[in-house]
């Protein structure tokens, strides 16, 4: 599955974008989804520099694509308080989805799941459930449901 319990952080303390991305990337690396965490985070930061992935609705979706990703994944972090993702962003962020996909071998199935999850994030009911989920298991369930 694209998401995994060990890729979920429900009580995010950091309010620093770089630190958050690095921590989530480390989870991806520990689970073997990323081959090279340094290269992956560099790709994510380069993408962020292009334009902010804080897209409103209290959500940021940093992402990186390249051969340094072994298997597509989503890592999720939730902050109790909203914080500013970066200087360009005007609304607070609480939900962060770090997405990694391999360069070419990403199967359409995985991409389809990611597309469905992305569409799902536009639904308030899913966002509210993610904000209120009591544990990682519950988040896993919700994200899996969104991906269908």
């Amino acid at each position: 599955m694209i998401i995994h319990e060990s890729l979920i952080e429900l009580d995010l303390k950091s309010k620093n974008k770089t630190e958050i991305i690095e921590n989530l990337a480390r989870k991806g690396w520990e689970l073997g989804r990323i081959r090279d965490a340094a290269e992956f985070t560099k790709a994510v930061f380069d993408r962020e520099a292009l334009f902010s992935t804080a897209i409103g609705y209290g959500i940021a979706i940093p992402h990186g694509k390249g051969s340094f990703v072994e298997e597509p994944f989503i890592a999720f972090a939730r902050s109790q308080e909203a914080f500013f993702w970066d200087s360009r962003e005007e609304n607070g962020v609480r939900l962060i989805f770090l997405i990694g996909v391999p360069e070419e071998q990403a199967s359409d199935l995985h991409l389809k799941i990611l597309a469905n999850i992305s569409r799902g994030l536009m639904k308030e009911s899913y966002r509210r459930r993610l904000e209120q989920a009591e544990d990682a298991r519950k988040v896993l369930e919700i994200v899996e449901e969104m991906g269908l």
């Binding site: 597309a115 992305s118 569409r119």
Partner: protein
């Protein structure tokens, strides 16, 4: 009003599909018919036919990259926005599209 749209972003993994969902929701909330083509990592999906393009009053481009087959929309009323704006403020975009579609 019949509206069509094209969404595309550099990596084509997430933003494209968020913008699609946001525009569809906002347009339908205002009683419009809408179909949105996505040009993402899976290629072109929900592709607009020549007939659908001909019937539409206005086309919305929510893009961060060039639109593939942009010539298909030659002569149409167009609203072009950055893909992030379509996600964040879809209703503003739909209102702009309404004005354009009415020829204002």
């Amino acid at each position: 009003m019949k509206m069509i749209g094209v969404c595309a972003c550099p990596t084509g993994i997430a933003h494209t599909y968020m913008a699609q969902a946001a525009l569809e929701k906002a347009a339908r909330a205002k009683g419009h018919e809408i179909k949105v083509e996505t040009q993402g990592a899976m290629g072109i999906e929900n592709e607009l036919s020549a007939g659908e393009i001909a019937d539409a009053r206005v086309v919305i481009f929510a893009v961060g990259v060039n639109v593939e087959g942009e010539e298909r929309f030659d002569g149409k009323q167009k609203v072009t926005v950055e893909v992030g704006k379509a996600i964040e403020n879809p209703m503003d975009i739909i209102q702009k599209a309404e004005m354009k579609g009415m020829g204002l």
